[in-house]
C-alpha cells in the first residue's frame, strides 16, 4: 500500500524529470526573426550614413551607435519571443547560447579598441564580420541549425572583406549586418516562429 508520502515523492520526482526533459530539449529557440530583420535595416541605414562621414572617427562612431541600437532591438525582440513561446532567457540553453556568443563579441570590442588607438580603421570591417560570425556560429551550436549557417555566411563575408580592397569594407558591412540579417531574419520569422 503506497501512502501519500511515496506518492508525493514520486510526483516530485516526476516534476524533476519533466523539468530536465524540457531543459535538455530546449535548444535556444528565442532567436528573433522579425527583430533580426529590423537590426538589418538599422545596419543598412548605418552603412549609408557611415559612408558619407567626413572622417574615419565619425565613420566608426556611426557604426558603434548603430551597433548599440541593433543590440537593444535584438535583446528586446529576443525577450519578447521568449515570453511568447513560453521559455526563459535564463535557462541552460539560453545561457550556453549567450556564452558562446559573448566571447567573440568581447574579443571584437577589445580588438576594435586597439585598432582605434593605432588608427587602423580598414581592419575593422573584416574583424567585425569575422568575429560576429564566430559569435553567431558558436552561439548557434545551442540553437537551430540556420543560426550556424548565418554565422558561416558572416565569416565568409569577413574573409571576402580581407581579400578585396579596404575601401570596400563599408559595403561588406552593409551586405553582412544589413543584407544577411534582413534575409535570415525574414527566414527565421517565417520558419522558426517569429
Amino acid at each position: 500500500m503506497s501512502g501519500p508520502e511515496p506518492l508525493a515523492g514520486r510526483a516530485a520526482d516526476n516534476l524533476r524529470y519533466i523539468r530536465q526533459a524540457m531543459e535538455r530539449s530546449a535548444t535556444f529557440t528565442s532567436i528573433p526573426g522579425a527583430g533580426g530583420a529590423v537590426m538589418g535595416v538599422v545596419a543598412l541605414a548605418a552603412a549609408y550614413v557611415a559612408a558619407n562621414q567626413p572622417s574615419p572617427e565619425r565613420w566608426l562612431a556611426t557604426w558603434l551607435a548603430a551597433a548599440a541600437i541593433a543590440a537593444a532591438v535584438g535583446f528586446i525582440a529576443m525577450a519578447r519571443k521568449a515570453r511568447r513561446i513560453g521559455v526563459t532567457l535564463t535557462g541552460g540553453s539560453a545561457r550556453r547560447f549567450a556564452l558562446g556568443m559573448a566571447a567573440p563579441f568581447v574579443a571584437g570590442a577589445a580588438i576594435t579598441y586597439e585598432l582605434w588607438t593605432v588608427g587602423h580603421y580598414t581592419v575593422m570591417a573584416p574583424a567585425w564580420l569575422l568575429l560576429y560570425g564566430t559569435g553567431v556560429l558558436t552561439g548557434g551550436i545551442f540553437s537551430v541549425p540556420v543560426v550556424r549557417a548565418i554565422g558561416v555566411c558572416f565569416m565568409a563575408l569577413g574573409v571576402a572583406a580581407i581579400v578585396t580592397p579596404p575601401a570596400w569594407g563599408n559595403a561588406w558591412l552593409a551586405l553582412g549586418f544589413g543584407g544577411l540579417q534582413v534575409v535570415f531574419g525574414i527566414y527565421i520569422a517565417r520558419y522558426h516562429g517569429g
Binding site: 500500500m1 503506497s2 501512502g3 501519500p4 508520502e5 506518492l7 508525493a8 515523492g9 514520486r10 510526483a11 516530485a12 516526476n14 516534476l15 524529470y17 519533466i18 523539468r19 526533459a21 524540457m22 531543459e23 535538455r24 530539449s25 530546449a26 535548444t27 529557440t29 513561446i85 521559455v87 522558426h192 516562429g193
Partner: protein
C-alpha cells in the same frame, strides 16, 4: 474511431497498475495514464519546451533508443497528443514532432495532478 479505441485500450491497460491510496487515491486514479509512462512523459515534456523537435533531437534529449522512442511517440500520436510531420532533407527522411493543443492540455493537467499530490502529502 480507431484512434479513440487505441487510446482507450492504452488507458485500460495502464489502469491495472494504478496505485490506490486512501487519501490521495482519487488523485492518483485520475492521473493521465498515457503520460504516467516515463518515456511518454519525457516526449511530451520535451515538446512542451519548444515548438517542434526532430526525432533525433528528442532521442538526444531523452537519451532514448530509436525503437523505444518511436513506439511511445506512436502511442502519443494515436492518442492525438502529438502530431508528426515526415519530410525529406535531401535523401534522409526526417520526422518532426510537435505537441497538439490537446496534448498541451493533458500535459498541463498532469502537472496540476503532480502539484495536487505534493500538496496533499504536505497536509498530512
Amino acid at each position: 474511431m480507431a484512434r479513440t479505441n487505441a487510446a482507450r485500450r492504452l488507458t485500460l491497460d495502464a489502469r491495472s497498475k494504478v496505485p490506490v491510496d486512501s487519501k490521495s487515491g482519487e488523485i492518483a486514479t485520475n492521473l493521465d495514464r498515457l503520460l504516467h509512462d516515463r518515456m511518454r512523459l519525457g516526449i511530451v515534456s520535451a515538446l512542451a519546451a519548444g515548438d517542434e523537435r526532430s526525432f533525433t533531437d528528442l532521442k538526444e534529449a531523452l537519451h532514448a533508443t530509436d525503437g523505444n522512442l518511436s513506439v511511445h511517440a506512436r502511442k502519443l500520436e494515436e492518442a492525438g497528443y502529438v502530431a508528426c510531420n515526415k519530410t525529406f532533407a535531401g535523401r534522409t527522411p526526417r520526422t518532426d514532432y510537435r505537441l497538439t493543443a490537446s496534448g498541451r492540455r493533458a500535459f498541463e493537467k498532469y502537472l496540476d495532478h503532480m502539484d495536487a499530490l505534493i500538496k496533499a502529502a504536505r497536509r498530512v
